[in-house]
Amino acid sequence: MGIPYYYSLRNLWTRRLTTILTASGMALVVFVFASILMLAEGLQKTLVDTGSYDNVIIIRKASKSEVQSGVERGQASVIEVQPEVATGADGQRLLAKELVVLISLPKRGTDKPSNVVIRGTSEASLKLRPQIKIIDGRMPRPGSSEIMAGQSIARRFKGGGIGETLRFGMRDWTVVGIFDAGNTGFSSEIWGDVDQLMQAFRRPVYSSLTFKLREPSEFEEFKTRIESDPRLTVEAKRETQYYREQSEMMAKFLRILGMSLTVIFSLGAVIGAMITMYAAVANRVSEIGTLRALGFQRRSILGAFIMESLFLGLIGGGVGLFFASFMQLITISTMNFQTFSELAFSFTLTFGIVYRALLFSLFMGLVGGVLPAVRASRMNIVDALRAG
């Protein structure tokens, strides 16, 4: 048996002021670490919520997003008649063949151009996204140069307001409606008739097909069949999965940013822990000599000091997480880098984040404590006892 754990704990308690100061440094780092992970998590959760589990999106194989995808009319007709496609109350199939084009429009005030998604839609498009509501005006009439704009577009882009006109695809388009899509990516889109838009942009093919499943459990079977059909060059994804992948890049960016910040900050915290632990060793030289004389091995001394430093890290981790958990009360807006729209979401704490944050705090404790602990374990017994 080694030196008991309470020896390490009580030493931390005995010098509680130093412990609190050192742990605070670690707590700050863990707070930043956890907050950024919570941010990425919250963002991803919001984006994933944009999709619906019952909906399937079809894009060309190996295209990463709708913008890069193309589905030929012939292939679209094949997919349209598949038995898994649900039928609405009016007997119409709940399937939308859509066009997605990224264009640049000038912003209000500054005239600076910024990217906007134009979506060519059909009648089913709105039925497939029940979270979208028209809050002003009306739906564009099929076959006309009428469009409707997401709230964020109407507010932020020149000519995006109701009754105004926007020019793109060598035509003028009248905004006849404004829609609210909640905290989803659709808020920063402009919707118009798919056939009109295909003509205007001279696009012979659709970008994607979205449909509602007759039976959500039929997805796997449908996917396998469609993707092995020699007539088709498409892949099928659940909408939730599609948006998860879409959010991956931004979440990854945030996580990398978080890691980089954390690594820099943690350097300070680790050095703080190291100084504290070196001081602890220096103050307890004769105690170390005594323990060794009593018969405790070098590795027991090493273990006791590393344990002390791990506890220190754990205290910091606990405190940091405690404060980070309050971040859940905050809702923030940021730029969605995929669609360049404002996206509101909240920090989300998950068990995985708690686990990683604590692991990270233990790691800081370990790194800070290992050298002092090695020094403690290397001491010569007689010299240590003489140090009195």
Partner: protein
Amino acid sequence: MENNKPLIVQIRDLYKSYRRGAQIIPVLENITLDIQEGEFLALMGPSGSGKSTLLNLIAGIDGADSGNIKIGGVEITSLSETELAHWRANNVGFIFQFYNLIPVLTAFENVELPLLLTGLSKKERREHVAVALRVVGLSDRIDHYPGQLSGGQQQRVAIARAVVTDPTILVADEPTGDLDRVSAREVLDLIGRLNTESGKTIIMVTHDPRAAERAHLIKHLDKGVLHEDTKASL
């Protein structure tokens, strides 16, 4: 004192020096010493004569340059560091001048500490600690921290810690050096009783003649050489 008791400590031709820079300072020269089981030996001598060094070598916390030390049949001068630590845990009880209790542990936990290195169960450990603290008369101070005890009481806790494993030898380096006269007498009474009543083999370094009086045998160390002093047994 009978002369037919078995020898518990046998020291042969022991040399020890310290290096200070390029200079080699001889501390112990050609020490040969036998100690019988149940002996109470006082080591005396002027400061810097090498008393502590000799005691540390016997206790297995320091290494000799040459010569050998056999204790209870074990040649400790040839043990590895790990083996030596293990051997100390089972065979040596330490009493230090400044008590050397662990400040963050209670009297109970301090005494229990060496038992953590034995295979005893928690229950057995508790019983052993209770007995040891009763022997030193501190059963009512079990939950006190060293800082809450007087010097004499702390030294008695340290003595309980030294005897709790029932070691082969007890080594004490100036055990009364930091105590007032009354506490010193109490501690010496206790050490004396451990020898007479429990038959413990004790090696005590001291320069206090009153302390040395309690021993059966006094040896003088002077400039690293051992001289025997005659001393009437009790």
